[in-house]
């Protein structure tokens, strides 16, 4: 469904991605792990259209997205849960969710999508009329995921959904992600909680210093010496 080929992204003169290639098939849960500063957020933002790329190709269903305006990405079925959630804090929870379903196709399904989100995250239902900025971190993350789901995406992009959350709340997020995935939505997950992310993924990529250094089945990536070296700086003896 989504194909990224030799993607290069630069901030000013500084390259953040040095030619990354990856593919996501319909309904697949793909996980990208890697230490901080490896370029994970840059990658996911480029896929969402938030970050223009400087070279390479990005195709969705065979359609070239490289020169497409940022606001057209959503209509191809891509929705993002950005790093740090980035809710519209001065708007209510309900309004945030409604902005998620801004496009015509999603708007038609709005009532049903809202019900789905509230079922997925029951605490959201009680907070619909509260300002999004007043929620706790975990609840905000729920709204951020909910907002993306309101767009009825075929590919959900998740950037560090567990960041800053308590272990119990992290578990809630991962259960929800599994449920969304089980319902048939493809997911691209960028995570710092490597073990948990690899546990639920179908396939995984390891990103280090702007390059893909390993890819394949989650277990293989988890046990690869590359991962230990990238994160811990040492080759762990097995």
């Amino acid at each position: 469904m989504l194909e990224v080929r030799d993607l290069r992204v630069c901030y000013g003169a500084a390259p953040a991605l040095w030619g990354v290639s990856l593919a996501i098939h319909a309904g697949e849960l793909v996980c990208v792990v890697g230490p901080n500063g490896a370029g994970k957020t840059t990658l996911i933002n480029a896929v969402a259209g938030l970050q223009p790329s400087s070279a390479g190709r990005l195709t969705m269903d065979g359609r070239d997205m490289t020169a497409v305006a940022p606001h057209r990405f959503c209509s191809t079925g891509i929705a993002i849960v950005p790093e740090g959630r980035r809710l519209f804090t001065r708007m209510t929870v309900r309004e945030n969710l409604e902005v998620g379903s801004y496009l015509r196709a999603a708007r038609k399904e709005r009532a049903r999508s809202l019900e789905y989100v509230c079922t997925l995250f029951p605490p959201v239902r009680d907070k619909l009329n509260m300002a999004a900025g007043s929620l706790s971190g975990g609840q905000q993350q729920m709204v951020a995921i909910g907002r993306a789901l309101m767009a009825r995406p075929r590919l959900l992009l998740l950037d560090e959904p567990s960041l800053g959350l308590s272990p119990a709340m992290v578990l809630v997020m991962f259960r929800a992600i599994c449920e969304v995935h089980a319902a048939g939505t493809a997911v691209l997950l960028v995570e710092q909680n490597v073990a948990m992310a690899l546990d639920i993924a179908d396939r995984a990529y390891l990103l280090e210093e702007g390059r893909i250094v390993a890819e394949g089945a989650p277990d293989d990536v988890f046990n690869s010496p590359d991962l230990r070296r990238a994160y811990l700086g040492i080759v762990a003896e097995k």
């Binding site: 969402a48 940022p70 929705a79 950005p82």
Partner: protein, 272 residues
């Protein structure tokens, strides 16, 4: 009572300024220039052309919508910062002022409309019709825009864009088109405010700047990007000015709004 009326005019002028500042990050000084241009147009059409002043709105609203769009297009093309938008629109205001002066001279102009002498009676109060018109237009527009911001997808999209444009775009909202649209609405609001000005005030080009301070005070007091805020704040300021005038000399009046503005700017927590 006259405080309420003048306050509603502050609010009406502030509505467009506040929306533009809060949602587009453009501090549009030319809003005042537009309002005066509209006032003069209204004067021209009504006094010379013999049109009903209210009917001129049908012409003025679309015209100033387009003007607003044009200015926004220019400013967005050069991606100006808020501070530079203030400077650039000041330049624009000077051009408009000169244009008005060239077209209508610097003499005082007063629209003598059918509404001028009419009074509307509520119990023991007699309210001049132009004041009543201004008040009701300000109320209707403020509440209308408030409702649109809250209950329509368009309004919510505008607010989302103002807070985090990239994320809003990721959900399919076209930043450029919405910016032009909102600027057009602000332009149209300036047009309406101009007609209200023409109905009640004697016009002269240099008066453009007389409104700047107090209207900005209303905008800051009411909250940037808020639809009801400027009107509420405008009326508060208008009434407090009227009260100040009643107790001291009229010339003390500005101190209320400006002291309020200073206090607000200093105490306002957080960012712009």
């Amino acid at each position: 009572m006259s405080g309420v009326f003048i306050g509603s005019l502050y609010g009406l002028l502030g509505l467009g300024i506040g929306l533009s500042w809060g949602l587009l990050h453009i501090i549009n000084l030319a809003h005042f220039g537009f309002a005066f241009l509209a006032a003069y147009l209204c004067y021209q059409l009504a006094s010379v052309g013999g049109m009903d002043p209210l009917l001129t709105l049908a012409l003025i609203i679309p015209l100033f919508f387009l003007l607003g769009v044009a200015v926004q297009w220019l400013l967005a093309r050069f991606a100006v910062t808020p501070l530079n938008s203030l400077l650039a629109t000041f330049g624009l205001t000077a051009i408009i002022e000169a244009g008005i002066q060239a077209g209508w001279t610097a003499d005082f102009r007063k629209l003598e409309s059918v509404y001028a002498g009419q009074k509307f009676r509520i119990g023991e109060l007699f309210i001049p019709v132009p004041e009543l018109l201004t008040l009701s237009l300000a109320l209707a527009l403020s509440f209308g825009i408030w409702a649109a911001m809250r209950y329509t997808d368009l309004g919510r999209a505008m607010r989302a864009l103002a807070e985090d444009a990239p994320v809003a775009a990721a959900f399919g909202i076209n930043r450029r088109a919405h910016g032009l649209m909102l600027a057009g609405i602000c332009g149209a609001l300036a047009g309406v405010a101009g007609v209200c000005l023409a109905l009640s005030f004697t016009l002269t080009p240099s008066q453009i700047y007389a409104w700047v301070g107090v209207v900005f005070a209303a905008v800051m007091l009411g909250g940037l990007g808020s639809a009801l805020g400027p009107l509420t704040a405008g009326i508060v300021i208008g009434v407090s000015e009227a009260v100040t005038m009643a107790f001291t000399s009229p010339s003390w009046a500005p101190i209320v709004s400006f002291t309020l503005l200073i206090a607000l700017l200093l105490l306002r927590p957080g960012r712009t």
